[in-house]
Amino acid sequence: MDELWQGLAHAARLIWGFDPDLLEIAGLSLRVSLGATFVASLIGLPLGAWLAVNRFRARRVVIAILNALMGLPPVVVGLFVYILLSRSGPFGVLGLLFTPTAMVIAQVIIITPIVASIAHQALRDLWADYHDLLISLNASRGQRIKALLWDGRRALLTASLAGFGRAIGEVGAIMIVGGNIDHVTRVLTTAIALETGKGQFGLALALGFVLIALAIAVNLCVHFLSRTERSGRW
């Protein structure tokens, strides 16, 4: 218990002192996770909407697979991306391994199913409401998806934030494809794993508290900027 308090105090000192290493690590964490969330939302939100409005034979199978992929083990994804990006792999020429880009790629693979699945569940209910109207108004498939994405944007925010939450706390995949290289690919989670391994519990805890604070801050920012959870809004 004593270590927790020491960790908290250490965290406060690090943040208060604007520790340059901490800022760099936290900044990279944010950049990688927000980047991955952005790309995953670009893919996952329209995919969720598309699944909500389309009825086809394999639909249930696709949704079942999507839900199963939500539990994709990050270590396996990391290994997979590592093999693809390694020198001898098909994308080796791009020289992406052990770069932040590789970390973004791995996280996109991990969180896109989450974003798509939550988006699909939210938009399925909205589509049940809108179905007759949009058919009656003769809206094209693209227009239906657009209407769902726009009118369901607040629910979709939750989907993106869930993806962000998974990304910022993820360690297995980015450890493998990023390599936890100081000043290059070290992020909060990999730094915590390293410091814990070294027995530096105080520093590890401090970084942990910074990570939690960061996640809360991003969520608060998004909710504040999009003005959700206010009366008279949806």
């Binding site: 909205l126 409401d129 809108y130 007759d132 109207l133 058919i135 009656s136 108004l137 003769n138 809206a139 094209s140 227009q143 209407a147 009118d151 369901g152 008279g232 809004r233 949806w234």
Partner: protein, 237 residues
Amino acid sequence: MVGSILPLQVDALSLRRGGRRILGPISWVLAGAGITVVLGPNGSGKTSFLRAMHGLERINHGDLQWAAPMSLVRAKQSFVFQTPILMRRSVVECIAYPLLLDGVPRGQALIQASDAATEVGLGAVLNQPAQVLSGGEKQKLALARALIRVPEVLFLDEPCANLDGRSTRDIEAILAVARDAGTRIVMSTHNLGQARRLADDILFLYNGQLVEAGPNSILETPTTPELAAYLNGDLLP
């Protein structure tokens, strides 16, 4: 009218759901001008009949023959549901939505929609979320949205169910204006007074069958025992 989608030939139309025939076979011709009122007890097939003509239902047997290609038909008819389906947008954006679908520039669509909203008496609530309107206002919004494309045919499924007298009168006035402007209206109702006030002709459905059809006067002189009983207020088996 050039490029008219009417007449609509309904030929032995029949719908089956869950192994049971819920409508038909019905043969009928939708033509001319004015307001057709579809009467009948609950479960008689009024809603299914209107939805089938509008193209919202899968038809099992029979045929619908419009006088124009389907793309034109789909664009020139609209539907008002018994429970208004409102988008999660402001009143004026809801009404403008069909225009936006047609590719009308947003600014112009919003101006046109505010005019339409003002015409049906929603001028004071233009920028409020549609979901917070009262029941009568919601139905007026649905009506304004249905009319904004200036449809040639307008279907309404019990538009005044659960509305008070004042809202009903407002909606009937809007419908009368639309009719005078040349929109062919087909509506269902349980309100016999409304049928007497609005109908140019009457369709009486019972158990999915078209039992009696004729001008407004058949409300006074029904020829089938079913319609007579219905008008009498008897409970049909």
